[in-house]
């Protein structure tokens, strides 16, 4: 098989991978913020629900979660297509790690910031969204960046539930052409480029959000 053809097939797979990331990442961020905030501020029963979610999705294998959602849930009458199953499983999985990022970042904002915002009589939601969160966001960006890259790499699991992502196409090509060196070389490069794109985007975001906070080497 010609190299150009290999690249073309793999590109189709890469597009599917990017689609999954593009849908699972917002879900993960949504889960991370909602359950991170529940974990910190909600009444105890809600906190316990959050803990169950977090510990379950962190404590079990992402692949098995994916199998459950795609292969086992139909036995309970819940049938979802492979793409949705992939997005849900990966979004919930990465989101569970993200909750701890959100919680840790909020808790790392110095106590004096809360006290100053109470003294100035801000309401509790103003305190959170105007004073604490803008500072916490900056702390969240680097660990969220790591999770986003983890997500890109974890998408390769979806090849096991029949989705034609980058890994799936690569294995298919490798089985038929045996040109494993070229194929997996290109695959490696594709994943790397996707991760680098995220890294670039995350750095931009960090610079933008840390304005005034004196991070990023301008002043300590």
């Amino acid at each position: 098989m010609e190299f150009g053809e290999i690249v073309s097939v793999l590109l189709q797979g890469a597009v599917v991978t990017i689609q999954i990331v593009a849908m699972a990442l917002p879900l993960a961020v949504l889960m991370a913020f909602s359950f991170g905030l529940i974990r910190l501020y909600a009444p105890t029963p809600f906190k316990q629900i959050a803990i169950v979610y977090i510990e379950f999705f962190r404590g079990t294998s992402a692949l098995i979660q994916l199998y459950w959602i795609y292969f086992v849930l139909p036995f309970f009458g819940i049938t979802i297509d492979a793409m949705t199953a992939a997005v849900v499983a990966l979004g919930l999985n990465i989101g569970a790690y993200g909750t701890e990022v959100v919680r840790g970042a909020i808790q790392s904002v110095p106590k004096g910031q809360y006290e100053a915002s109470i003294a100035l009589n801000f309401t509790s939601s103003q305190r959170l969204w105007r004073i604490i969160m803008p500072q916490a966001l900056v702390n969240m960006i680097p660990p969220f960046g790591n999770l986003a890259i983890e997500l890109v790499k974890a998408t390769s699991l979806v090849s096991l539930i029949t989705i034609g992502d980058l890994t799936f196409k690569a294995k298919m090509l490798a089985d038929t052409t045996l040109q494993v060196g070229e194929i997996f070389g290109v695959v490696l490069l594709f994943y790397f480029v996707m991760a680098q794109f995220l890294v670039f985007f995350i750095r931009r975001l960090e610079t933008h959000l840390s304005k005034g906070l004196g991070r990023g080497g301008l002043h300590s």
């Binding site: 110095p110 004096g112 910031q113 006290e115 100053a116 915002s117 109470i118 003294a119 100035l120 009589n121 801000f122 309401t123 509790s124 103003q126 105007r130 004073i131 803008p134 500072q135 900056v138 304005k211 005034g212 906070l213 004196g214 002043h219």
Partner: protein
């Protein structure tokens, strides 16, 4: 004589097993400037923090401007205050912190205008005009667009004072506002307070280790030890003729330096 603007009645405060106040009574009259001096751990800062609602109390009552701070009437009874009541009561109070606690993600101007705009609903134009006035008062008119991290400690604290004043509190609490500063920066901050009290009348409660400043600015000085006022009176009396042994020992240790 009118009712005191601040009154502590039989206040009890503990941190776990440690008793800070067991039966604390204290009054401040309107427009009175009271300095609180005393050794570390004597409850000086806790007193201010309780007033600012940063710490609750475990017993007793506190009145601020004629209303109970930590309690409110409900169905004919006196019950612990809810958030709404605390929110209302905080309008009387402003606080300047030892470690400034400026908001690092906001410019100096926004540090000062944010609360008046969001909490009091003041228009942006009005809030910014007042912020400019306050920045002039503290000598930082040229720093409006800087971020706190670009300022010196003394400048940060002057912004901290301006930020507290922006809410127009009737009672100003100053919690060791020069303790975190290099010695050469202390006076620029104290000068701001000196000018402030010259221009306007304030009820001011300050915890300080700057004895000369306490002596110069206060109407009354209270010497605190182990959660109680050991001795209080006019500054001249306290500093030149202290009656209690503990006051003498404390002042000697300071003046002896």
């Amino acid at each position: 004589m009118s009712a005191p603007i601040i009154e502590f009645k039989n206040v009890k405060k503990c941190f776990g097993e440690t008793v800070i106040f067991s039966d604390f009574n204290f009054k401040v009259e309107e427009n009175e400037i009271v300095s609180i001096i005393g050794p570390s751990g004597s409850g000086k800062s806790t007193l201010l923090r309780i007033l600012m609602t940063l710490e609750g109390i475990d017993g007793g009552y506190i009145n601020v401007a004629g209303e109970s701070l930590w309690h409110m009437p409900w169905q004919g009874q006196h019950v612990p205050a809810n958030n709404k009541h605390l929110h209302k009561m905080r309008n009387h109070l402003g606080m300047v912190f030892q470690h400034f606690n400026l908001f690092p993600h906001m410019t100096v101007k926004r540090n000062i205008t944010e609360a008046p705009m969001r909490v009091k609903g003041v228009s942006r134009a009005e809030a910014e005009e007042f912020a400019e006035k306050l920045l002039q008062l503290v000598g930082l008119a040229d720093k409006a667009d800087s971020y706190p991290n670009d300022l010196s400690g003394g400048q940060k604290q002057r912004v901290g004072i301006a930020r507290a004043l922006a809410m127009k509190p009737s009672i100003l609490l100053l919690d060791e506002i020069t303790s975190a500063l290099d010695p050469e920066l202390v006076d620029e901050v104290l000068d701001v307070i000196r000018n402030l009290v010259k221009e306007e009348s304030f009820t001011m409660l300050l915890v300080t280790h700057e004895m000369y400043f306490a002596r110069e600015i206060s109407d009354r000085v209270c010497f605190f030890d182990k959660g109680a006022i050991v001795e209080e009176g006019e500054p001249e009396a306290i500093f030149t003729q202290p009656k209690e042994e503990r006051t003498k020992a404390f002042l000697n240790a300071y003046i002896g330096q």
